[in-house]
Symmetry: C2
């Protein structure tokens, strides 16, 4: 279902000895992951929980016009990526899921309030700690709107809380008010939380969770490939390839590259190291960043995510359009490689829920391995606290 | 209307002597721009042309449900950025402009065809050369749809061609068929073409062109600031700050950062040099790339685009939301600076058509100056041809 080519346009950039040396550390790195206490995302999700998520999704679709997900970072990027990737470009044929809590824009929130005024909506507020500023503000603003619309007993039915099992202000409030709750386990960090209710509930509104689950755990078969990917990235970094550009050939996949940016950026960007993740949407961005990649500063390598077949079918002068798209992909790899840019390729047979879930597991595994290869903890993000401290001081709360 | 701070979070990274040296080259660089033969975008657009664009826009709005812009790279990024930046997040209150020709996705084109089936639409096909592959394919597919819907005489009214004055296959076809045409001047390159009909016609459908024109040429007053910006970027590059991250605090401005990426990436990325342009949308991406910027590999600097006031007005616990957004911006600059990241700031009093047009002129000027400071031609893009040659060979057309 997923194939990899880490050789054709990469090999000359990699020294064999270095490669062998890192490859031989595999057992050690795998053990580090198992010992980390943060590998909950490699465990099976329980059937009871899956059933509960499906049941809740069914009720939401039955009772409401739309659901607003309030979450930021690891609390929304997974389900958002998934949701965007398969949608129709021009008509929303899905049950409507709105993402909020990702901005402090007055314009955004104001227009959201106007839009929701006459809708029968519910909210799913997602925060492990319960203290995320954007989440808190958005939740307050939307709860106020609900309060203006509904009496106390009815109000309760419109709020779902996804948070820590025991701790935090959101958990406290949910217990007190009797809101429906879901739990984010302690041994799964935000950017690795795809397989938790934080993402599975919004996804269940429009997709078959069974496909997601089957696909996700199929990722376990890609352990070797994930490790090799981590090794090659590490070696390219040592060759001063400081940027990884993820290339996709379908505009809807832009959201998936945003998920990738958090996964790798937040996992690796510590102690002065890490590969800076960026993305280009082709063929669009070949006409904007293509020049730089071909002839500019040689500090990057690329990872292409190719989709072999597409369901929709159009021809141009007798050639299927998807074939032209794929020919361009091959040509771009060849051209960029000739310009000194190593190109890795990940080939999906089809762009569907199952395959993408497999890919998500693969990338999570690769990111975790990569952290250990860099000698950093793949599961913390101490640097995010620095600006938050400044904000608290500026707002006079310290 | 626009203020700049290139000092507070930058100065310690800049050596005074180097700075003075580059600053003293100003006259020389300005002369290079004037002598380039490609500075048509600094000249006044004629009143006759403006009138013609406005008149055409008025007719389009009167006759059609929507317009499809077919263009890629410099043929769409400017008007697209403009269009996205001011739109309502949840309800389209504008005359509908659809952007196509930016992808070879079968899914996108198939869904576009379905969407347009029952619409009374016109198309504006934009390509200087007339040979851009994505444009050609999309134009053919949409013209076929129009042909199925209309007789020859009616069909003509649905097509506008924006291309070279004399040359190319599109010009030829337009003259033969009697389509309405607009011209892209020879002394203006794609990424500098905001002030041409390529962008002004789509913009005129929803915005007052007079605001755009007034704002744009007001940019001439920012010559000194644009030059200083180019100088500082150049010095940061020499300090191995290889990535420029453009930060915006309004999700709608994401499209503007895409325009910036082409402008700087395609202008500078040559002969092994250039600053790689990337972007983060705050506060969203503080929860994804924030960790890396704070503590990861120190190869980047940031340019913040701040909006002081917003029309919409919401409060949180007595503080206007936009004030909180701005407090976060200041805190983030402080935090990232303390982590070794130089931060430049551009402050817009308001986010409106006039201000953004001024900013566009400013950035174009800075990009051109920057090219000359790097010792490269800011107006060509030879590297884009490399993959196109591969594509032609693969498609068996050579």
């Amino acid at each position: 279902m997923i194939k990899f080519d880490f050789k054709t346009y990469v090999e000359p950039f990699i020294e064999k000895e270095e490669y062998q040396k890192l490859m031989s550390k595999k057992e050690d790195v795998m053990q580090q992951l198992q010992k980390s206490g943060m590998a909950g995302w490699t465990d099976r999700i329980s059937n009871e929980l899956l059933k509960e998520i499906k049941e809740t999704a069914k009720q939401i679709k039955h009772q409401f016009d739309c659901m607003v997900v309030i979450g930021i970072g690891g609390s929304f990027l997974g389900s958002y990526a998934f949701d965007q990737m398969f949608k129709n470009y021009f008509e929303n044929k899905n049950f409507e899921v709105i993402y909020a809590g990702t901005t402090l824009s007055s314009k955004y929130l104001d227009e959201l309030l106007n839009y929701l005024k006459n809708k029968n909506f519910c909210i799913d507020v997602i925060s492990k700690s319960g203290t995320t500023m954007e989440t808190t503000i958005t939740y307050k603003v939307l709860k106020d709107l609900l309060k203006r619309k509904y009496e106390e007993e009815e109000l309760k039915k419109h709020i779902i809380v996804t948070t820590d099992k025991k701790e935090g202000i959101l958990r406290e409030e949910a217990e007190k008010e009797g809101y429906k709750t879901f739990e984010i386990p302690n041994n799964i960090g935000g950017r690795y939380s795809f397989i938790t209710p934080a993402h599975l509930l919004p996804i269940a509104l429009n997709y078959d969770l069974d496909d997601v689950i089957v696909g996700y755990y199929r990722g376990k078969r890609l352990t070797d490939q994930a490790y090799e990917y981590a090794v090659i990235r590490n070696l390219l970094f040592k060759k001063k390839k400081y940027i990884e550009n993820f290339c996709v050939y379908e505009e809807n996949m832009a959201s998936f590259t945003e998920w990738l940016k958090q996964l790798f950026g937040e996992t690796e960007g510590k102690k002065g190291v890490g590969i800076f993740p960026t993305s280009t949407i082709h063929t669009r961005d070949l006409h904007s960043l293509g020049q730089f990649i071909q002839e500019g500063n040689k500090i990057l390598f690329e990872t292409f995510i190719k989709v072999e077949k597409q369901e929709e079918y159009l021809e141009y002068e007798g050639t299927p359009l998807q074939e032209i798209n794929n020919i361009v992909e091959d040509s771009v790899m060849k051209a960029h490689y000739s310009g000194g840019v190593p190109c890795l390729e990940i080939i999906l047979q089809e762009l569907d829920a199952e395959t993408i879930s497999t890919l998500i597991y693969f990338f999570q595994l690769a990111a975790a391995y990569s952290g250990f290869l860099f000698g950093i903890n793949p599961f913390d993000q101490p640097g995010v606290e620095v600006y938050k401290k400044e904000v608290r001081e500026a707002l006079g709360k310290e």
